[in-house]
Subunit: 825 residues, 2 copies
Amino acid sequence: MNLKNAGVRLSTNTIFKVYCNYGSNSHTNESRVLNSRLRRTKKIDAYWRACNYLAVGMIYLRSNPLLKEHLKPEDIKHRLLGHWGSSPGLSFVYVHLNRLIKKYDLNMIYLAGPGHGAPGILAPVYLEGTYSEIYPDKSMDEEGMRKFFKQFSFPGHIGSHVTPETPGSIHEGGELGYSVSHAYGSVLDNPDLISVVMVGDGESETGPLATSWHSNKFINPIRDGAVLPILHLNGYKIANPTILSRISHEELNALFVGYGYEPYFVEGNDPKIMHEKMAATLEECITKIKKIQAEARSSGVAKRPRWPMIVFRSPKGWTGPKNVDGHKVEDFWRSHQVPMGEMHSNMEHLQLLEEWMKSYKPEELFDENGTLIPELQALAPKGDRRMSANPIANGGLLRKDLDLPDFKDSEYALPIPAPGKTRFENTKAMGIFLRDVMARNMNTFRVFGPDETASNRLHPIYEVSKKVWMADYLPEDEDGGHLSPDGRVMEMLSEHTLEGWLETYLLTGRHGLFHTYEAFAHVIDSMFNQHAKWLDICKNHVPWRSPVSSLNILLSSTVWRQDHNGFSHQDPGFVDLVTNKSAEVTRVYFPPDANCLLSVIDHCLRSKDYVNVIVADKQSHLQYLTIDEAVKHCTKGIGIWDWASNDHEKGKANEPDVIMASCGDVPTMESLAATAILREECPDLKVRFVNVVDIFKLQDETEHPHGLSHRDFVTLFTEDKPIIFNFHGYPWLIHKLAYRHPNPERLHVRGYKEEGNINTPLELAINNQIDRFNLVIDVIDRVPKLGSRAGYLKELMKNEIIDNLNYAHTHGIDKEEMRHWQWPF
Amino acid sequence: MNLKNAGVRLSTNTIFKVYCNYGSNSHTNESRVLNSRLRRTKKIDAYWRACNYLAVGMIYLRSNPLLKEHLKPEDIKHRLLGHWGSSPGLSFVYVHLNRLIKKYDLNMIYLAGPGHGAPGILAPVYLEGTYSEIYPDKSMDEEGMRKFFKQFSFPGHIGSHVTPETPGSIHEGGELGYSVSHAYGSVLDNPDLISVVMVGDGESETGPLATSWHSNKFINPIRDGAVLPILHLNGYKIANPTILSRISHEELNALFVGYGYEPYFVEGNDPKIMHEKMAATLEECITKIKKIQAEARSSGVAKRPRWPMIVFRSPKGWTGPKNVDGHKVEDFWRSHQVPMGEMHSNMEHLQLLEEWMKSYKPEELFDENGTLIPELQALAPKGDRRMSANPIANGGLLRKDLDLPDFKDSEYALPIPAPGKTRFENTKAMGIFLRDVMARNMNTFRVFGPDETASNRLHPIYEVSKKVWMADYLPEDEDGGHLSPDGRVMEMLSEHTLEGWLETYLLTGRHGLFHTYEAFAHVIDSMFNQHAKWLDICKNHVPWRSPVSSLNILLSSTVWRQDHNGFSHQDPGFVDLVTNKSAEVTRVYFPPDANCLLSVIDHCLRSKDYVNVIVADKQSHLQYLTIDEAVKHCTKGIGIWDWASNDHEKGKANEPDVIMASCGDVPTMESLAATAILREECPDLKVRFVNVVDIFKLQDETEHPHGLSHRDFVTLFTEDKPIIFNFHGYPWLIHKLAYRHPNPERLHVRGYKEEGNINTPLELAINNQIDRFNLVIDVIDRVPKLGSRAGYLKELMKNEIIDNLNYAHTHGIDKEEMRHWQWPF
């Protein structure tokens, strides 16, 4: 490939030719084409002017929307909020895409990376009628327009991004960096879809965005749709130039060639010329996409093509005030948000605003009722072809339940001869189940993980679907590489990209699972926050959005089994973050064994509109419950394990001396081992064993829909007996959840604590299982009944701890009896 | 520039010439050069073989380090941990750098992006003597070598990454993605330093890494040192090829040209040829760096050059077993971690291990005592020039306290005529102080923020130092752009890159502040985790590391003032994460006003080895304390505000009916307003007002060094009176911190809650100040004393809430009396 020609700058002549070739269907002479081109450009420009007029109106006006009178201070909002800067560019592309949708009957959606430029999206959404259909009071007339203006970024109404309330949006763009991965997620298994994503040059500086360009190595042109990224180079962030706008054309071009694209450049500031360039370039890109797809689909050979992308360099705040108070505004960072303020005191500004808005000639665009004139209305696509009405962007409408095998089937469920006697890798059992989920849903289900599918023991999936890989192959890949252009397992060493893909795969109506090392789930903390907020808003404020599949996150390679990776790989705090988000959209599960994990994943794959976090380790663990017991236990979410307790005698009042509670696979084994010691050493002590799968069961019923009433809590935990709670994560989380229940001070939680002086990097040793002894000491310290036995037993436990640590430090492995410990009863 | 030639592949001839030019100092004939070249290569190869031998030993052996006897199963560790795959490549480069350090007396450090390949770093660190100097029991003899092997990734000893225990390391490489930003942070203001960073092709897929290549737009060749990035293309992650290893040479070359580098390629698998290529290429790169710097420094003109970088394509697990059990291992993902296991049962594997280790010919490398032979020892640099002993990588040694102005000076401190009467932007007061901190420390202090320095009101700094910018300039930048190649304010829209730069700027002995929007601090959650863990380990286990300056993080644009950005910009949870980390390294401050903020920032800039998080909003807020009062209040961290309380009468026992507590700027104003209402409406009610600056004061003294004793807690909060706590963040955090203190159930916390049905996107309206009324209702619900007044007052409060919301929804702004509320007493 000749790099010199890789970046295409179209000459005017080329533009003209391309435009002619694709802009009309019949062969025709040059003057007719020219006239037709000018007419069309004029109309597109008029539509764009209408968009810009509305964008300014949204930012400034609360009355007088058609400027039927001169602007008065009281027409202006008291606080001016919103982002003008990127709005004109966003709608510029929108209106050009409309032309192509109509011409080619395209199935297209639009993602606005600079979602702060919502006025540039809301405007065309309103103009094509969708907004009024969904929100009838924002009707397509003067009063509707007034309300449409006023509601923008106004208390009690909509925010200033492309929030979930915006028809056609699957990407809010509030937090920057995810537009490209979101675009790619939407086209997976959507072969006819073209997702156009406007990429801000500001957000391009973020890490998640910078790597997400590589998503093109995971798109199969036969099976998947196409993404057309448009880098919107409008030059500035809040108060700074952007990096990509201040490097040479050569570097910029090379960068996108390096990312695997064929970059096209549309650059300039004269709308007339820019309309022609954009029309021609988009035409060429769409044609190229269709050609790539047609070739792949007719040949059946899926290769990675060089997909087109566009660099669109236009002035920031394009068509806005050139100068305000002697300072440059258009094409400068000063137009980032509101180009001028003090509208209630500075009459020059008020005058300038009126001139600015009138420069769009609203009288040519809207009739006297405030309705867009029919000639312009005709430019928008109709019905579901409108990008704002495409059902793909309201994926719940298209979502079908997964075809799920019966997880209780003997293919998946483990036989349990007796509790605590056998071992198995919990996540592997789930992997076998997921294999068959995949096999039955080969167009609507994918699994996402950062290079860890096998490490996390989900490799049985490879029996039915490999990892998708569209980059180069080597012969040795055949030897266990599990790569294929048709694979449905998505692996890239970017949690951000994976999470971004999955989010929109779900928002467009499909299903999936993201699995990752527990500690590094924190890499996507902020993305989780944003998705949870999106779901929360949809659930409570956007009734027209149909429920989508839940975001299922499996945290594996957990803190307690990060032996050799040590301290830096130990962080169980992702669930802390999850519990900060709305109770209406968050669920967290800690299945103690494989059968429970099967029950939990089945439940999660059926659920909608949640973020389900499942914490389950990949190593081999003791198994406790038969599949039927597991279903009951997981359905309740919390329960007494009779077989492990000795406080239960038929016909007698049952009041234990202590409650041993556990949550998580490793802690459950340790709690059981401590219980066994107690039952052996102190047979008079009445121990109740409670296991928690659904962590929100610990909350009060007023705080979370899964929370227990005080009565139910007391039924399990008694009114006042000590609770020795062994937990997978940071201990404070349990206190935070349970503090409203009776006598919270009796709750003692043993969990993971970050203390460099206690956990040396490898002090949580290989299969280090000394917590059982500490738990027994916790009981001794809190249960007076033990009396004189206490001292003896405590000494014994301390000796055990020292012995076990010494053994591990000497031999590099735990004692045999610890590694193969079983429930002894 | 001609892109075709941008990527330099050296022909053998070129290599030879370059090598000759730089490899010897005198003009000589070809055969002498050839001989000298071969001799040198041979020695370098021997040194590298010693590294590889040690690397394998670390992974496998616990005894018999010199293979004086045939390997027996008991010589092998029980659990085999560690990463072989990238180790040979890491040490390959290390030994070549040693040659250049010696030749040019370079000031150089080495960052291992794939820090999992620690054996490849530990080996040369041990061979050059540093390890034994620091850890004398790991001496340079047989017994020392045995201990050195055994301790690796072993319970109670060191982990398997380049952890803080590793001399010369400032980058653990456990969590991937930050090596390049870490390398750049180290060279800022270190003009003589060359930081060589090995970049994993796996980590290159992460977002943070992908954008950090752009750091070259922020390096001034006059003032800063140079980074030489070496992309280590060894082809595979855990079980997958890497993207960058499976794209064409043309794309790869274009990518780095696009990032602004001049890429050099060193590719192959024959060590002999590769030694020559690497020697020649490194020579050329170092020469180029020196030339760039010399030109800039002699001309005084700082331009952005095209810095060199190297693409180093070598086989994964290079020199390891080619095949194991019929599967390809070398140059494949199977060599990622331990190439073969079952060493205690599979004697063929044991045999293979012995052959593998002997292939390095240890008898040629070590004498019979296990000491590296003198001829090879001579290859390493001496003293501080050893990369493992460079004091820059133990920055506390070089750190000097900042020269700080007196924050109590009238230039910074605000005059406070009376509490709660005047308003000011808290962060702006800090900005004025930071301006003078900057002016006094123009080589050792920088401020980092993602395009928000002005937005967060820190713009006074621009008076003394602008934003560094090495990309292109436009004339309009003069109009308030505040850009300069000499700037010391670092702005890029990548929180990851900024945080990475700052971390190593601190670790190499300097000072700084990172400020960001509160909600988006979550973007760097995982980086914070890693840095806190690093500090924790250093403090508790690495006595030879000198304390470094604290990582100071200012969270501004807080949840309560994210009106127009709405729900997606509201997240106060970063501090929740911080409180999960070790109490020994975490501090969190919520100064209520500008003078308190000044006191806090002064304290933070003096402190060492902490992460200090300061939460302070940028908007205009009421001011309460004079600077002297602020110093006292912040030094205590928590205190009663007498002037706001009415429970205090001299000579009388003081027992309030209720404690109004607050933490954070906005909540403090609301709590005061509620207190004012209570005092006006219920003058008989005794109210005590407590303000919390240092949030860890709420913990128990056993949990955090700042925690209060129960006695001190009771002194402030009484034994059992209701506490109505108004908080900036999620309310559960306060419960989590305070649950150990007496009667925690009396603590009622009002904070931010994520509930889509309560907080509509803009329901937390513009300056929405209805919390005061809710707080009064909280008191009414909890203080029986109010008796019959309660009903009337509660109705009044509910009416106020409705009135205020209605007003905001109608007018888009809060009522006048709310916006200008003052403390009425």
